[in-house]
Amino acid sequence: MKAPDFVYVRPGSIAEALALLADTDADATPLAGGQSLMPMMNFRVAAPGKLVDLNGLAELRGLRVENGMVRIGAMTRYAELLASDDIRENIPLFGLALPHVAHAAIRNRGTIGGSVALADPAAEIPALLLVLEAEIHMQGLAGTRAIAAEDFFLGLYETALQEGEIVTEIVVPARKTTEQFGFYEFARRHGDYAMAGVALKVGGPDHCRIGFFGVADRAIRATRAEVAYRDGGVPAAMAALDDLPFDGDLNAAAKTKRHLAGIALKRAFEGIS
């Protein structure tokens, strides 16, 4: 479990980072918190020839609230999000969900941008961003662009990110006073990736957004359940999950995921605040 040889570079600006990442021959790869990438390298599942460390880029760090939007730098760490008053006030869903992401040591290093770029199907962040109607901002040598979270997560570890591009910022609408949030996940042990989990935003009796994680090949919105909720409340939403593309894994077959998704949804609604 030793990583194959690689070159390590620590650029001082986004421009420099993008130039380094353009080296496709070396399979240049950005390094954020390293909490997923380093294990993959040690397992030799990933073998980038060049690691471009984003940890020196002040431009990618920190967060601010501007015009009803929370703008979060890609290199902001889970621990920083959890400690932030701005987040507590404006994205209460993060406060419900992030304590379930891994363990303290990993949250001290792991970044929101890393989670977005990795797109692990069982990760919390992508589902939260779907529910929160967030926008992912990216930058490449060709320029910058922004995509709705809904169009960003395409499949198993597959995103709209193009080669040579990096995630720069996550933009999340600040909470409206009418909105409530719910979150629930099942994990065998605290901090494990979820067996099944769900995040909710409830705008009123006729409006909610539901995002599941850990049940399919990516974080997914349950649009039929959202509609069913409007017409028949929580029981109707629970019954409207069959069309989701459930995938089994080591801990649960697809059928079990389907069952747990319903229970998680019920509990998330019970706990909304």
Partner: protein, 792 residues
């Protein structure tokens, strides 16, 4: 402790106290000396190519690209070792009929499990060795595999060792009384269940590790290893590498946990020794976590179908079961993989008065990693089957689980006695431990709480287990069958010129506190402060001959040897003191580093002065006085094959019946390990053991695909129990010292692991009972519980 006065009930007393570990600070400061910390001049590093298939013919290798890689010094395939190491076979003569095929460190013609080493790269660094391993082109031809235990003996299952004609490695039948007659009676209730126990493994914090140095000028091999039994390894290395035994030195410094994983012969370790000998340079091999999962022995893997017959008043009339256990493609060398099944046959139902007993065991080969002795060998199966059936029977006839145990446990006043399977028991306390358990856990209050909770749709359950634990084995365990495994241990105690004690012992420190209890015993029995005792263990050049750590034997056997040696040295020192002081030695004693007047406690001469007189100014002694300020004693258990420990345990759980998740709310263990030398260390052993037991019951499983691929060989996917999910564990002691020794210590290392799975399983089933559901498969994962509930 309210036991009669022993020789160690003295002023500076340590036995029975929670003395802190003298080595704790060193380890906490990061100054531990683990194998990977060792850096020798000219040392090389090994990495292995392991079979990617569970069963494959090895047609050849193309090594050119690998050889060209930077840093590579040598590459070996299995056949390269054919002339340098002799094959080994994991059989023992007392396990009649057990068969296994000869094994070499690396597969030569056929690889028989995914993870079996097939080629080895030795390079300047481990990273370079791994780079080169990735470049080896192995021509492997996959063969049909036999992976499933339950179909291993079917006619259409591939036979792993053709010469044997089937995949059966061993079978044994134990029979007592007339089982069939009981089951045909019409006044008994019969309960039949099938239990399934998945594979799990030890997950030691420090993986297996070896550094081997060979000095051709003296034909001498030194093997630093992270392991449990240095003298056993010395004998094995000498035999298979053709070296005089005395030319092999085995050293085990700090060891980061063993749990039975590190007491076997692993091909990669032996290959490391062969490479060091061939290259005449030190070679290091430290297993990485992935290698640990696919090559450290796995445990359990049983399917047991059992039935119990009870009368209406709850008397257990008969127990009958069939155990099928899968051990991988070989029986592990040298302890064999039949012992696990043998323990199940010996121990199931052993706490109960049982006259009619039939136990059939079959051990089968499979194309999976080897299964062998792990903490609490066979115990979790024996206890879960017996106590699972007992609870099911109790429910069927409407008797409370605590009550049915009271009616059937072997009474405390009937020892010595012999069990239905022929085990000799003495000094056990099933009744006392159960009574204490019931009162400490407030059993009746928990039952009341259970009823209240059920009304609210909350499903809590209480599970009990009464158990025996094998400890302090005699030579009847291994030595009798021809294994180079010592059941006796030695201790040497030496007074140095400064008045301190240097002690050494053949038992070993794996992190459980062996060195601490050795110091406690020596300090107290001899009569010095504990900080004046320096302990050496784990070095075949420097300690007496003995067995090491296994079968909960360190304190009971090695501790007794230390007691005897310390007592002997004390007598020798008092003889010298009597001459120097012109007093009767019987009137003298040694306390806190001085020879004192036994009655008044007044100091007569310090040990330092005494020792200096002997060592420097022998002229002051009469010429016929030849003091020996060193003593060695050995000890083995003679009257019994094993000295058993017993305990009663309980789990309180809550089952989330919507999701299948189980939360263990609390765990209690009342343990009788005889004399408790250090309560804190014993409690740590019990708690750690319980956690591993809960791991096996709820979390840990080596998940294989149908074709024998281990699917969860990472710490992310293999679920070791973690602190957040663990309950508080309350530990209590009943002390019934064994009469086989002065010290009276039995063993405490494995009880928690052996008992906890049964208690947790019974608790889960107690919770599920009102819903008409039950589960007898471990680990009891949420999905399996949902299936039991009919929800998925």
């Amino acid at each position: 402790m309210n036991e009669p006065l022993h020789i160690f009930d003295r002023p500076n007393s340590y036995i029975g106290r929670s003395v802190p570990r003298p080595d704790a600070r060193r380890l906490l400061e990061g100054r531990g000396k683990f194998v990977d910390d060792l850096q020798l001049p000219r040392m090389l590093h090994a990495a292995f190519l392991r079979s990617a298939h569970s069963h494959a013919r090895i047609d050849g290798f193309d090594l050119d690209a690998a050889r060209a890689m930077p840093g590579v010094v040598a590459i070996y395939t299995g056949k390269d070792f054919a002339d340098h190491v002799t094959p080994y076979v994991g059989t023992l003569t007392h396990l009649a009929g057990l068969r296994s095929a000869p094994q070499m460190p690396m597969a030569m013609d056929v690889a028989r499990w995914q993870g079996e080493p097939i080629a080895m790269v030795v390079a300047q660094s481990r990273a370079e060795a791994e780079d080169a391993v990735a470049m080896i082109d192995a021509d492997l031809h996959p063969l049909d595999a036999a992976c499933d235990t339950e179909s291993a003996l079917d006619a259409d299952t591939p036979v792993i060792h053709e010469a044997f004609g089937s995949n059966l490695a061993w079978e044994r039948l134990v029979e007592a009384g007339d089982v069939d007659a009981v089951f045909s009676r019409n006044d008994v209730t019969v309960i039949k269940r099938t239990f399934r126990f998945g594979r799990h493994t030890g997950v030691t914090l420090e993986p297996r590790a070896s550094v081997v140095e060979y000095d051709p000028s003296e034909n001498r091999l030194t093997y630093w290893y992270s392991g449990q039994a240095p003298h056993m390894m010395q004998a094995i290395l000498a035999k298979h590498l053709d070296l005089p035994e005395e030319n092999v030195r085995v050293v085990a410094h700090d060891v980061g946990g063993s749990f039975g994983i590190k007491i076997h012969t692993y091909g990669d370790d032996i290959a490391t020794a062969v490479a060091a000998k061939l290259l005449k340079r030190p070679v290091k091999f430290v297993a990485d976590r992935h290698e640990s999962f696919v090559s450290d022995i796995h445990a359990r893997d049983h399917v047991v179908t059992g039935r119990i017959a009870v009368t209406a008043d709850g008397t257990i009339e008969a127990l009958d079961f069939d155990d099928l256990t899968g051990i991988g493609p070989y029986s592990m060398y040298p302890r064999t993989s039949a012992i696990e099944c043998n323990q199940v046959l010996n121990l199931t139902g052993a706490p109960y008065k049982l006259r009619n007993y039939r136990a059939r065991g079959r051990v089968v080969f499979q194309n999976k990693n080897l299964m062998c002795q792990y903490r609490a060998v066979g115990h979790p199966i024996a206890m879960a089957v017996a106590d699972g059936l007992v609870d099911e029977a109790a429910a069927a006839i409407g008797v409370d689980p605590a009550e049915i145990r009271r009616r059937n446990l072997v009474p405390d006043d009937t020892y010595p006695c012999v069990s239905a399977s022929g085990m000799k028991f003495d000094d056990l306390s099933h009744e006392k431990t159960l009574d204490r358990l019931i009162s400490e856990m407030r059993y009746d209050d928990l039952r009341a709480d259970q009823a209240t909770c059920r009304e609210k749709g909350v499903y809590r359950g209480i599970g009990l287990v009464s158990m025996v634990e094998v400890a302090n084995p005699s030579p009847m365990f291994y030595g009798i069958g021809g294994a180079p495994i010592s059941a006796q241990d030695g201790a040497t105690v030496r007074l140095d010129a400064g008045g301190a004690l240097h002690v050494s012992s053949s038992i070993t420190e794996q992190g459980q506190g062996t060195n601490t209890i050795l110091a406690q015993i020596a300090a107290e029995v001899f009569g010095v402060d504990m900080d004046r005792v320096k302990v050496t263990t784990g070095d075949t050049d420097n300690v007496p001959y003995g067995g090491g750590t296994w079968a909960s034997r360190g304190a009971g056997i090695g501790g007794e040897a230390m007691l005897l040696a310390s007592k002997a040295l004390k007598d020798q020192v008092l003889d010298v003191a009597g001459i120097l002081l012109q007093s009767e030695s019987e009137s003298l004693d040694i306390r806190s580093g001085s020879v004192v007047d036994a009655d008044s406690g007044a100091e007569r001469i310090s040990l330092r002065d005494l020792a200096r007189t002997v060592y420097y100014r022998g002229n002051e002694l009469p010429s016929d006085v030849k003091p020996e300020l060193i003593a060695t004693r050995h000890y083995r258990v003679t009257d019994f094959p094993f000295v058993f420990t017993n305990s009663a345990m309980a789990a309180h759980v809550e089952v989330d019946v919507e999701s299948g998740f189980v939360r263990v709310l609390h765990f209690w263990a009342v343990e009788d390990c005889g004399r408790v030398i250090n309560p804190q260390l014993v409690d740590e052993q019990i708690r750690g053991g319980v956690v591993q037991g809960i791991g096996g019951a709820l979390y840990e499983e080596c998940v294989y695909s149908e074709d024998g691929q281990l699917l969860n060989a990472t710490m992310a996917d293999y679920l070791v129990p973690m602190a957040g999910e663990m309950p508080d564990i309350s530990v209590f002691h009943v002390e019934t010292p064994t009469k086989t020794s002065v010290l009276g210590a039995k063993g405490a290392g494995e009880a928690g692991t052996g008992g906890a799975p049964a208690a947790v399983m019974n608790a889960v089933n107690d919770a599920l009972r009102p819903l008409g559901a039950s589960i007898f498969q471990m680990p009891m994962s949420p999905e399996r519980i949902l299936k039991a509930l009919g929800k998925v």
